[in-house]
């Protein structure tokens, strides 16, 4: 889709973002590494397999239950590397701060980053700070990039899903997106929901010990589980079938989703992962995930099928079937 202006949808993580990337950006930066469109770039330097990833954080509000823009920026990039099967090692951090931003807020954010790096066992080794005049950014934006080492024999990519694979999900969905939403100006919710922002690299490491041959890992951030599954179905040229009754959604999250007309399948997560694993090894990996603090509610939500490549289907609770499409823009609330 061509438009004269950038719309918010272009950053929504769904179909419109996807087309901006594939139609406008990929042709410019065309190379074999970027065109795989995985969570991070994977390449070899002197026989070592490396993962390299970058992400920019503009969350509003910058402080929310369960975290802040600082730990989000660390965890997000750590997870992008982990989803390549890498052990995350070093991060860079770029701050763009609005003139007049309270120093105490900056300290809270930096402290959040410190705790997050400790937890993920990564180091911030380089950084940059820019201050722009009031109004040129909204409070603070953070970019973080990271680099990690991929162990030998590990080959994880969105292209690797195969018919027969089981689809594993590490826990309840939509917690982060709904938490942030309820904290927005004008949303007067008093809810106990907290963001799930968390580093997943330690769990991934254990999963790889349980099964070296994990086919796909993906953290379903913007666009949610629905969009992530579609991306994998397209990249791997397979169909995916999931079961509505197996997907964990917290009562509070599902209540707010209903009130506002949101589908939790398309709401962002910041501490969850999807894993595609051969059926024989799925139970073993599931057990490992459930032992991890961020995978206690892990479950198998579906499987890969050879029919209808590029499509995701859901068997509904009443036994019906429907398509799960990619998110098609910002999720908007219903009006009646």
């Amino acid at each position: 889709m061509k438009t004269d202006h950038i719309l918010l949808d272009h950053g929504g993580g769904g179909k419109i973002s996807h087309s901006l990337i594939t139609e406008t950006m990929l042709p410019i930066f065309d190379n074999a590494i970027i065109s795989r469109l995985d969570d991070g770039a994977i390449f070899k330097i002197e026989e070592k397999q490396l993962a390299f990833s970058t992400d920019t954080y503009v969350v509003d509000p910058i402080f929310f239950p369960g975290g802040n823009i600082g730990d989000l920026a660390v965890n997000g990039t750590v997870n992008d590397l982990a989803m390549c099967g890498a052990v995350p090692l070093y991060l860079s951090v770029g701050l763009i701060i609005e003139e007049g931003f309270p120093m105490t807020d900056l300290e809270i954010i930096l402290n959040g980053m410190r705790i997050a790096t400790k937890k993920a066992k990564v180091k911030v080794v380089t950084g940059d700070t820019k201050v722009v005049p009031k109004g040129a950014v909204d409070k603070i934006f953070i970019n973080s990039s990271g680099i990690g080492l991929i162990p030998e024999h590990v080959n994880i990519s969105g292209h690797n899903a195969r018919p027969g694979d089981k689809v594993l999900l590490s826990g309840s969905i939509a917690d982060h997106g709904i938490t942030v939403l309820t904290q927005r100006e004008g949303m007067n919710f008093d809810s106990p929901i907290v963001s799930d922002t968390a580093p997943l690299n330690h769990m991934v490491k254990r999963m790889l010990l349980a099964c070296e041959d994990i086919h796909v890992l993906r953290d379903p951030t913007r666009g949610g589980v629905g969009t992530a599954l579609n991306e994998i179905a397209i990249s791997s040229k397979v169909g995916i079938r999931i079961y509505e009754n197996t997907i964990p959604v917290k009562d509070e999250v599902s209540g707010i989703c209903e009130l506002l007309g949101f589908d939790p399948l398309y709401i962002a997560n910041e501490g969850k992962l999807l894993a595609f694993i051969e059926a024989d090894s799925a139970d073993e990996v599931l057990k490992t995930m459930r032992k991890d603090e961020f995978g206690k509610d892990a479950c198998i939500i579906g499987e890969v099928i050879s029919d209808n490549p590029g499509n995701v289907f859901m068997q509904t609770r009443i036994g019906g079937t429907r398509i799960v499409d990619m998110l098609t823009g910002e999720q908007l609330p219903r009006i009646c």
Partner: protein, 364 residues
């Protein structure tokens, strides 16, 4: 916070036993219309179409407020958004609806101040925080939203806000159903009547429709088992040739409806003829702000530039809203008209039939 009691209406066992019962009694080939857009979405999301016998076709009706908003109203919203010192406040679904020359989303990208709110009271807050601006709320919706808007108009003076205005494009459901039945090309064997609207207006409001046409009609809730139960009741009425006006949503809907809400609506709005997309002018089917509140009526206060409004070319939204066509029969569907680049409103709204088909319909 969680609405726990809904779980019982989602119990797959209950739904399956209703599906079995529908299969047992359904023999005639019938066409049922779910009037409300929220029903349409629930039907698609839960896969109800895929579990019904082939004898039953479900048609989506004109119960998506954004979809039935006339093109000239959309164009007026867009013109208003270009007015100096105006902040438009709206529910989100209206943002992408293409007008004749632009959309609210396009106007926002062009730098005009258009804000999505979740309640009209959020729009009040914007008014208080921006005393130098004029805040216009776009009132689009049925009897469900109209009482809240009416109540807020009543409280504007009390709250000492003098920069808040409402553009009322509200519409009424029962007159539209009468208009549908009057048009000879529409063939409907039964109505699944809206739940939320009926909470306000009560089942009583459908008596004129029922008395005139004796069409099987059932008010339904929104959970899969609610909708399946309503379908079962309709099939039973049709198979036994005993049409009734039934209420299968008794936990929320009464015969009289919400008298207080109806009174407030009547105090603030007068019933007028209104243009519905796809159906045309329907007598006594719209709500305009009464004269005594005209100081808050955006249509009076602002000089809104009018243009020759043109419905999107080739778009079959009108026929789809009347149940004459299904989205795949429109030549624009999935080709040039998609949720990313919607041409007609039925593809824009989260409750639009085309959006539901696009998002949830299985490949056949």
């Amino acid at each position: 916070m969680p609405i726990k009691h809904l779980e019982e209406y989602r119990d797959p066992e209950i739904s399956r036993s209703i599906i079995d019962n529908i299969n047992k009694i359904s023999q005639k080939k019938i066409r049922l219309m779910e009037v409300c857009g929220t029903h349409t979405m629930s039907i698609f999301k839960s896969g109800i179409r895929t579990v019904l016998p082939e004898t039953i076709s479900l048609l989506s009706g004109p119960g998506c407020p954004v979809c039935v908003t006339a093109q000239h109203e959309i164009d007026a919203f867009i013109a208003l958004s270009r007015t100096d010192d105006v902040i438009i406040t709206t529910f989100g679904d209206l943002m992408k609806v293409p007008g004749t020359t632009s959309s609210l989303q396009g106007e926002r990208a062009n730098g005009h101040d258009i804000r999505i709110v979740y309640s009209i009271f959020d729009a009040f807050d914007i008014a208080k925080k921006n005393p130098g601006k004029k805040i216009v709320f776009l009132g689009v919706g049925f009897e469900t939203t109209a009482p809240t808007i009416a109540a807020s108009i009543l409280s504007i003076e009390e709250m000492k806000i003098n920069n808040f205005f409402v553009f009322s494009a509200h519409k009424l459901v029962p007159p539209a159903l009468l208009a549908l039945m009057e048009s000879s090309d529409v063939k409907i064997d039964g109505f699944i009547l809206p739940g939320h609207v009926s909470v306000i207006i009560g089942t009583k409001a459908y008596l004129p429709l029922f008395k005139k046409y004796h069409i099987p009609s059932v008010v339904a809730g929104f959970e899969p088992s609610d909708i399946l139960q309503a379908i079962y009741v309709l099939v039973e009425q049709i198979e036994t040739e005993s049409p009734r006006l039934d209420n299968a949503y008794k936990r929320a809907v009464t015969f009289d409806g919400n008298k207080k809400a109806k009174q407030i609506m009547q105090d603030v709005f007068e019933v007028v003829d209104a243009t519905w997309r796809g159906i045309g002018s329907i007598p006594k089917s719209g709500l305009k702000i009464r004269k005594e509140f005209e100081a808050y009526n955006a249509e009076n206060v602002f000089e809104i530039e009018t243009i020759d409004s043109i419905d999107p070319k080739g778009c079959d939204c009108g026929d789809i809203l009347r149940g004459l066509k299904i989205p795949p029969e429109c030549r624009l569907y999935r080709k040039t008209c998609t949720p990313m680049n919607p041409i007609g409103p039925c593809m824009v709204s989260s409750e639009g039939t085309c959006a539901a088909y696009y998002r949830y319909h299985s490949i056949e």
